[in-house]
């Protein structure tokens, strides 16, 4: 039997986490949760997930800083990372400047709120690529 895909969900909004976890668990996915960027990075290292859903706005360490650290780490950089944002994403994807000499290229941006179908479709698409 194929191993279940492991998804790391990093978001400080408990209601969103609960709802999203429930949606993801309708599929054979194992869901791990972290509530800020630091915890997310730690769990990414420990659990080696197959995909990361990362909120942009969080306390302690925001999604951009966490994603920068993920993408700088050769071990973690290959994990597809989808950014969750409460502000509508429009237009073409462009790299986001996060620090001197580092522009962030994550796999995708997902607008909140997102329908269950859309969320699952995106997750599935990047799991397949990985």
């Amino acid at each position: 039997m194929k191993k279940r895909a492991k998804i790391l969900l990093v978001d400080d909004d408990e209601d969103f986490v609960e709802a999203t976890k429930a949606i993801l668990e309708t599929r054979p996915y194992e869901v791990i949760v972290a509530s800020n960027g630091d915890e997310g990075l730690r769990k990414a290292r420990e659990e080696k997930p197959d995909l990361i859903l990362l909120d942009v706005i969080m306390p302690v360490k925001n999604g951009f800083s966490a994603a920068e650290q993920l993408k700088r780490d050769p071990e973690l950089a290959k994990i597809p990372t989808l950014m969750l944002t409460a502000f509508a994403v429009k237009g073409v994807q462009s790299s986001i400047p996060v620090s001197r000499g580092f522009a962030l290229e994550t796999e995708d941006y997902i607008d909140k709120p997102v329908s269950p179908e859309e969320l699952l479709a995106r997750v599935e698409r990047y799991l397949k690529k990985g």
């Binding site: 925001n62 951009f64 502000f87 941006y109």
Partner: protein
Amino acid sequence: MKEKILLVDDDPDILDAISMILQSQGYQVVTARDGVEGLASLRAEKPALMILDLLMPKMDGFAACKELQDPRWAKYRDIPILILTSVREEASRRRYELETGLELDVDDYVEKPVSPDILLERVGRLIKKKEKA
């Protein structure tokens, strides 16, 4: 002595070079090395213009711009902000929108490297605009 300009950048070479360019035209220059120092200087020095880098340690330029939207900074809001950065304008605006849901509210945006002439022209324009207001 001409107007006072606050220059915020974490790169000491940029601080030196831009200070020299501005001082050559008689402007007074105050410098800061990150957003925290920059906002403190803004309060203390009340400059005629702030030139702000975006990517800096501690508090970066994005966070400084966001902080300035807070009502307690209302009386400093008439100080024009010129962003001076090596990051492309479109990419910066996009990041700010994703993070805050707001448009980056700055008076001008200049990409590094910039020639002294162009920088001085843009600085002069903003200072004139402020005097008229």
